[in-house]
């Protein structure tokens, strides 16, 4: 059938199973939007392209499917960049489609021309500039395949306007694709698995350090089985939360800069560290030489380049975590470590996560505990970046994967709200909460228009302390309380703002108002709700390990 590039694109997206995409039109992508007009795929119109990228990301994280965002050339494309970089750092499958000026205008500094191919090289898993419409079907097929397989990541397809318009005889979307130079290792090497099993059988103080890879691989059940079989305590990275049940007896919660006492001490004293889908990020390890200094390291990851990147692995296993764990579970014998378990229990009992819940004061941690209680731990939680993110990670106990969506690697303020929009679009019946700060929420607050217009009942809990809280905390602790540019005295009235957009707004100033407000928000299912929680302005995130210190060097609540 004779079809245009745009029609082929939409047909390909349908064949890839895309249900919803997020975007913003413009000159160089108009032919594609004309095809969208006739398409079955739902298109959610955002208010800024960054919102489209984060929404596609939130869609992807909450479902495991590939998220799709669309923008025009030039500024439309560059506005996607932060969202693409966010997805890249956290290995999120995404396909970003951008319009480009016609091939005859390329390279002429044409109106709304930007070299988005060149710009996105370091922040995509792969990218394309489509020069001929004949190449388009194969490129889309490759792009989706690359985005979701191996270590997932964003792929960008830049399509010049004349390619969108050009017509060719289209004989259907390709069924198969093979890329000779791209073959991720899926099955773990049996010899390495045997070595790992031997090390596990000899270990007296094993610790499992689980990262986002567990969730990406869909290996939460296997991880639970594995941990229980060898009775090893589990600590999770920020990205790994939900990969292992937070309420499980073997869970020590998060490790690292704002990790728990038990997790940081257990890692430090362990004789065997089993890193699963984690990458020894500096926020996790603190001073690298003092991280698990006496432990043998087993490192399981699908990306060979992660092995030995930061810390030497004694037993590396490259492969898909689900498959590797399945093989490993068969290879290991049931073990117990009662002395080790007792020590960990002791750390947990003596040094739990804690805050001072003073009468008459509204503490942000209290708000998160109540959101946890009212939603019964079953909401999809997105966060912004900063204190709100750390408190959400500490005080909401995630028992299931794909419930906690947060920008871990890049640390993108403004991520949470559009990501919540994407997650809500993907999960219509579920409760989606964005735990926000008053600083971060204002980085993409324009998406209120998107959520209202698309009838997405996202709940936004603003932990409003009229400060850029995390930066303020660093200034208090490490910069002699010189509060340079962290006070947000010009905050809007968020309730009035919500109303102006046609959303619902609730103001909460007292402890006793918290639960009723959350319940009220949960009843609203046709528009977003902002809850403006006026929390204690000087509350800090503890424990805290100063940057570059050993992770046992923790500043505790005074």
């Amino acid at each position: 059938m004779l079809m245009s590039g745009s029609e082929i694109l939409l047909d390909a997206l349908e064949k890839e199973g895309v249900e919803v995409m997020f975007g913003f039109p413009g000159g160089a992508i108009l032919p594609v939007y004309d095809a969208i007009y006739d398409s079955k795929i739902r298109h959610i119109l955002v208010r800024h392209e960054q919102g489209a990228a984060h929404a596609a990301d939130g869609y992807a994280r909450s479902t495991g499917k590939v998220g799709v965002c669309i923008a025009t050339s030039g500024p439309g494309a560059t506005n996607l960049v932060t969202g693409i970089a966010t997805a890249y750092m956290d290995s999120i499958p995404m396909v970003a489609i951008t319009g480009q000026v016609g091939t005859d205008l390329l390279g002429n500094d044409s109106f709304q021309e930007a070299d988005i191919f060149g710009i996105t090289i370091p922040i995509t898993k792969y990218n394309y500039l489509v020069k001929k419409v004949e190449d388009l079907p194969g490129i889309i097929k490759e792009a989706f395949y690359i985005a979701r397989t191996g270590r997932p990541g964003p792929v960008l397809i830049d399509i010049p306007k004349n390619v969108q318009v050009a017509k060719i005889e289209y004989d259907g979307y390709p069924k198969e694709i093979s890329i000779s130079s791209y073959n991720p290792t899926i099955k773990g090497n049996p010899r390495q698995i045997k070595l790992a099993a031997e090390a596990i059988s000899k270990a007296e103080r094993p610790v499992i350090y689980a990262g986002g890879g567990v969730i990406i691989s869909g290996a939460a059940d296997e991880l639970k089985q594995f941990a229980e079989k060898i009775e090893a305590p589990v600590t999770m990275t920020l990205m790994g939360l939900g990969g292992f049940p937070g309420t499980h007896i073997l869970s020590m919660g998060m490790l690292g800069m704002h990790g728990t006492h038990a997790a940081n001490h257990a890692v430090t004293e362990s004789d065997l560290l089993i890193a699963i889908g984690a990458r020894f990020d500096d926020r996790v390890t603190g001073k690298l030489s003092a991280f698990a200094p006496n432990a043998k390291v087993i490192h399981i990851d699908i990306d060979p380049a992660e092995i030995g990147k930061r810390k030497k692995a004694d037993i590396p296993i490259v492969g898909d975590i689900k498959q590797v764990l399945q093989s490993l579970i068969k290879e290991i014998k049931t073990k117990s470590h009662s002395d080790w378990a007792k020590r960990i229990e002791n750390w947990k009992a003596k040094h739990p996560l804690t805050y001072k819940n003073e009468k008459g004061k509204l503490k942000p941690q209290f708000v998160i505990e109540k959101i946890y209680e009212v939603t019964k731990g079953d909401a999809i939680i997105t966060t912004e970046v900063g204190q709100n993110q750390m408190w959400a990670a500490q005080y909401y106990k995630f028992d299931k994967p794909r419930k906690f969506l947060t920008s871990g690697g890049l640390g993108t303020m403004g991520y949470g709200f559009p990501a919540a929009i994407g997650a809500q679009a993907a999960n219509p019946g579920k409760v989606v909460f964005d735990i926000a700060g008053d600083g971060s929420i204002q980085m993409n607050i324009q998406e209120l228009g998107t959520a209202v217009c698309s009838k997405l009942p996202v709940k936004i809990a603003i932990l409003n302390n009229f400060n850029l809280g995390m930066v303020r905390q660093w200034q208090e602790l490490f910069f002699n309380k010189r509060y340079s540019n962290t006070c947000l005295s010009g905050n809007p009235d968020f309730v009035a703002l919500a109303k102006a957009y046609g959303a619902h707004g609730i103001l909460v100033k007292k402890q006793e108002e918290v639960i009723p407000a959350i319940k009220e928000a949960m009843k609203i299912n046709d528009r977003p709700t902002i809850i403006d929680f006026r929390v204690e302005p000087e509350e800090n995130v503890f424990p805290m390990v100063p940057a570059g210190a050993a992770i046992t060097d923790m500043i505790q609540l005074a």
């Binding site: 792969y126 500039l129 791209y182 092995i307 030995g308 296993i317």
Partner: protein, 169 residues
Amino acid sequence: MRHTISLLVRNKPGVLSHIAGLFSARGYNIDSLTVGETDDNTVSRMTIVTIGDDRIVEQVSKQLNKLIDVIKVVDLTDQPFVDRELVLIKVQAEGEKRSQIIEITDIFRAKIVDVSPKTITVEITGDDSKIQAIIELLSPFGIKEIARTGKVAIARGREAGKNKGGATC
């Protein structure tokens, strides 16, 4: 230490940007980089000379291997290999100096490819030490310009280079 890495890559637009971008983004050094088609016109061979300790070069290899367009990465440094570079050297050459320069050129089995009233241009092919040596000998005459291709390299023997950078674990 200096490592010579040989890459087979898909012969597609943008490949060079992806590879060069990787080196700059991760702060690796490129001493030289050459690229050209192989016997299969869909595949190009790149020879990259990079400097770093073993840990860094292992990372370079792994990160290169991760690029979608990279088919194979071989660190030739660990095995017998032949490397060659072609260099054009324009030397100041007047009066009796001309015969001295021609003599040096003969000894090195180099070629004179251009002569002008005041200069001689010498073409030399060889490995590092040979090129270093001729440059040293010609320097006293006054080198006006040098153009170097960068190194190309290939493993010795019948076997194709052994893949060292891949997922061996």
